[in-house]
């Protein structure tokens, strides 16, 4: 399978503006910081959660509790995949009971990762509610899951892939559309 670059969807400044907007939307919906916690999904969702967390602190002047979740152990493809994905550290150093959680990930596609994340969170406690914030929604859901906060909607075909790059691990901020059909 060859990877062919098709189009750049977001550049660094687009992403910065989206992070700012998502931070405002989350605060608006939650009416401030009351009971608000952020949980980013490893790997890239965690960095996005950190960025949104910083932005919220800039706006409100207070820190919002931010945790990180690796959902590998809750995935539904454990028996069918060939290679074991590596498991990163989950770190949720606060109780989530009765809190309003915002789950944060980079791309929303089939919805299976979010399903796994919801299962995982239930093992940590009983939150008051869970929102979902996503940088890019590319469609093709296989489960009844919908994001509450969306950075950008990008309708894609199956022969395409969304490649999110973040400064923290990829050395640059960009979202590109890739053709994987051949």
């Amino acid at each position: 399978m060859t990877e062919n670059f098709k189009a750049q969807i977001l550049n660094k400044s687009d992403m910065g503006r989206i992070i700012t907007r998502l931070a405002h939307e989350i605060l608006e919906k939650n009416r401030g910081l009351e009971k608000l916690v952020l949980i980013g999904l490893r790997t890239r969702g965690a960095y996005l959660a950190e960025r949104i967390s910083h932005k919220i602190q800039e706006i409100e002047g207070r820190e919002v509790p931010t945790g990180f979740l690796d959902v590998t152990l809750y995935r539904d493809d454990f028996r069918t995949r060939l290679k074991q994905p590596s498991v990163e550290v989950t770190n949720i150093p606060f109780a989530i009971d009765e809190e309003n959680i915002v789950l944060i990930d980079d791309v929303l596609y089939t919805g299976r990762t979010i399903r796994a994340a919801l299962d995982a969170l239930m093992d940590f406690g009983r939150p008051a509610r869970i929102y979902l914030a996503i940088l890019v929604d590319r469609g093709h859901r296989e489960l009844p899951i919908k994001a509450d906060f969306v950075g950008k909607n990008i309708p894609t075909s199956f022969g395409e892939e969304i490649k999110v790059k973040l400064q923290e691990i990829d050395g640059e901020d960009s979202v590109n559309l890739i053709d994987i059909s051949n």
Binding site: L73, Y74, F78, T80, D123
Partner: protein
Amino acid sequence: MLKSRHLLGLDGMEKPEIELLLNTARSFREILDRPIKRVPTLQGKTVVNLFYEPSTRTRISFELAEKRMSADIVNFSAGTSSVKKGESLIDTVKNIEAMKIDMVVVRHSSPGAAHLLSQVLDANIINAGDGGHEHPTQALLDMMTIRERFGNLAKLTIGLIGDISHSRVALSNIFGLKAMGARVLVCGPSTLIPRGIERLGVEVFHNIDEVIPQVDVLNILRLQLERQKSGLFPSLREYHNFFGITRERLERAEKPILIMHPGPMNRGLEISSHVADSEHSVILEQVTNGIALRMAVLYLLAGGKSEIH
């Protein structure tokens, strides 16, 4: 990705594989502190714990690790089984495998027992101690515990103290620590150190007071009391005087030394109570880490479709 679908020993295992095991175990450690200490990953997998030798810690640790991963478990002890009627190891496990199981954790007094099973069974085999040969999960959890404190194993000096000859913990530790680039010193009475062990890349000492100033970590092995009857050392008291790790001995070192022991401890013999309970002792952390490490082993071996045999 691990190269083998079994964990038989650390002999020949290279640094990237050991690092994968230790990193995965570090990620799993947090699960033990959750309100619900269980992940659904191994749902539908059946693990048999096949213990031909007595064991408390290792057996409970494996069992808890399996439960934390949501596997189904069958426990087998030789004492209460058809082994008493004279059934061979291979017949026993072939019968158990015919009941459709996925993984076997085996402890046996014969070196090579786990290796033998890996040749006759389709299940994944995990060696939980085979005679005086290897005990890979113990060595891995020891390395995990050292790495937690020091961040890195390379450039550290680790002393293995006591009965090296009969210790599978020592042998697995030597293989693992050498692969990770550590310096390994072994120290004990000459009757308890196998000839030619230098060939594994370790340095041999018979005077504990020469070892203490050089090491960052002391891993103190259990003195197997049954050996004393076979005349390998004159008396327990003499052993304690020459090789026992005491506060007085450690105070002569310039820096604090991390104290480890695989258990069960003979307090007042190879280790004094003061040392065992001191702030530099990580003996109980070893036990906790053992569960996370064994969860990581189960995870890395059990997943996916078997592709290689």
